[in-house]
Symmetry: C2
Subunit: 302 residues, 2 copies
């Protein structure tokens, strides 16, 4: 399919065209289509959902999709799997909890396996957000697994970031330590019927007290996503945060941050590809890594 | 302290000089000292230890240190916390399980909080490995928390990578999916007295069957690190992998990979700093991110 045909199908609102455009972005060839459609972006609300493996993110995502659909909103879901540079995401594929939405035309679900370097993950995800936004989705939900850099990259793309934690996992402090404390606009204690749920809530509150909050203070919501409990409260907290962003004008700052983040990832991705070509041909024997880095940078023309 | 004085103290084998040199590396000023000492590197054995939060990595690390000390080997430990770009690791500090080694002069333990982008994490960690190697440690253990990019970066630095998983956490498949399957030289099922330990072992074996193995096939060891059980077997598996690397000559490839990785991170770190300065002054209104990225790259002189 030529780019023109793809663009025409996209503008005729064919989901297959959206899927194909995201595939282009994933393989690093999203530039033309994103550029052509970029003027249509800026309308969607973007929600990030993150937390450690096993917390029930897919179930929470599914419940949030159901809630948004109940309000008549169309929803695009991006599931980011920070997978291996080796396997190319071969072990992917258990998005079963989102299956109930597969036949709903106002819901579009896309798994993305990040390959190789972080720039790849964030770059293609940013493109997918732009494409879903241009396609006309009211809400874009970006779900990611893991602890560390990937959440932070996601938080830079989302207007509201929801961090889910589970009781009794023994990892709350480690998770909070890993730097996702500061990216949360809303905390979710999922599996709230667990005997240690209250302890986790106390731990989150104490961890919050260790930080200075300026403006929005993260809300804490308890859910049992499998039973659908607490989802109304979670949605209300997300809406309060969105209202806060709009009332204070901070929404413009978030949009600007997301744009700069996307530009940065794109630029770094291009530079990285050039750097890798230089590194391949670099035979650095007998010198230290700093000298080698200087030589590589000068070979790049910098 | 001047660099000359630092270097003199380092060569006199003062642990404070090593600590100070690593601090320099952490703040991006490790170049001079690493360059001056680089010729002394290449002797240490490097072991990476990774796995999800709560699996008991610090306990395993402590047990491995004890084992290595029993064999008369000196050990440097680097604990990498992929922390926030905002908090600068303010929530760090619970390395309590390693406390038993704090008074042993042949053990040096260092926590490193990664700041900002991945290049920062891997770059400073690579410098710390070089510095500990030059200082004369026999074994360097690099421990990291998280799922995703940080493990992969660590695996590029370590000669042998140990991946620890815990039974009953419900996350084994998610963890395996996240791409750490392929970086493992040795799998550890910790908390092996857990009723679901056998299930986890089966899951790891099935996941392994989905991949092609060429050369070394990862070993699977069960431990109860808190009770010290299985540590002999874990150490033996690590030694078998080291022997394999040496006998096949693959050790040279691993050293070369670690070197290229370090050069790449150093070069990317420098380029990123320039890019950030350009981005700060970039007021990209009304253009799409691809156009903005092109403009930024041309402003960099590339």
């Amino acid at each position: 399919m030529t780019d023109d045909a793809l663009l025409r199908d996209f503008e005729m609102h064919k989901p297959r065209a959206l899927a194909r455009a995201i595939s282009c972005a994933e393989s690093g060839r999203g530039g033309d289509i994103v550029r052509a459609l970029y003027s249509k972006t800026g309308r969607a609300v973007t929600i990030g959902l993150t937390g450690p493996p096993g917390v029930g993110k897919s179930t929470l995502a599914s419940a949030l999709v159901r809630k948004a659909r109940g309000l008549g909103k169309s929803v695009g879901v991006i599931s980011v799997d920070p997978s291996s540079p080796f396997s190319h995401g071969a072990l992917l594929g258990d998005r079963i909890r989102l299956v109930e939405h597969f036949t709903d035309e106002a819901v579009f679900i896309r798994s993305m396996a990040s390959r190789g370097h972080l720039g790849g993950l964030a770059g293609a995800t940013a493109d997918a957000v732009s494409l879903m936004d241009a396609f006309g989705f009211d809400v874009i939900l970006i779900e990611t697994v893991g602890v560390g850099q990937s959440e932070i990259a996601i938080a830079e793309l989302a207007q509201t970031t929801v961090v889910a934690l589970q009781p009794g996992s023994g990892d709350s402090i480690q998770v909070l330590k890993a730097g996702i404390m500061e990216i949360a606009d809303v905390f979710v204690v999922n599996k709230a019927d667990h005997p240690m749920a209250n302890q986790l809530r106390r731990e989150i509150r104490s961890a919050m007290e260790m930080l200075q909050w300026d403006g929005w203070v993260p809300e804490l919501v308890a859910t049992q996503a499998l039973a659908g409990e607490g989802i109304e409260q979670l949605w209300a907290a997300i809406e309060r945060h969105m209202a806060y962003l709009n009332e204070t004008g901070e929404i413009e700052g978030r949009r600007r941050d997301a744009f700069v983040h996307q530009v940065r990832q794109l630029a770094m991705g291009r530079i990285e590809r050039r750097l890798d070509r230089v590194l391949e041909s670099e035979s650095s024997t007998g010198i230290d890594p700093y000298a080698a880095a200087e030589r590589v940078i000068s070979k790049l023309g910098l």
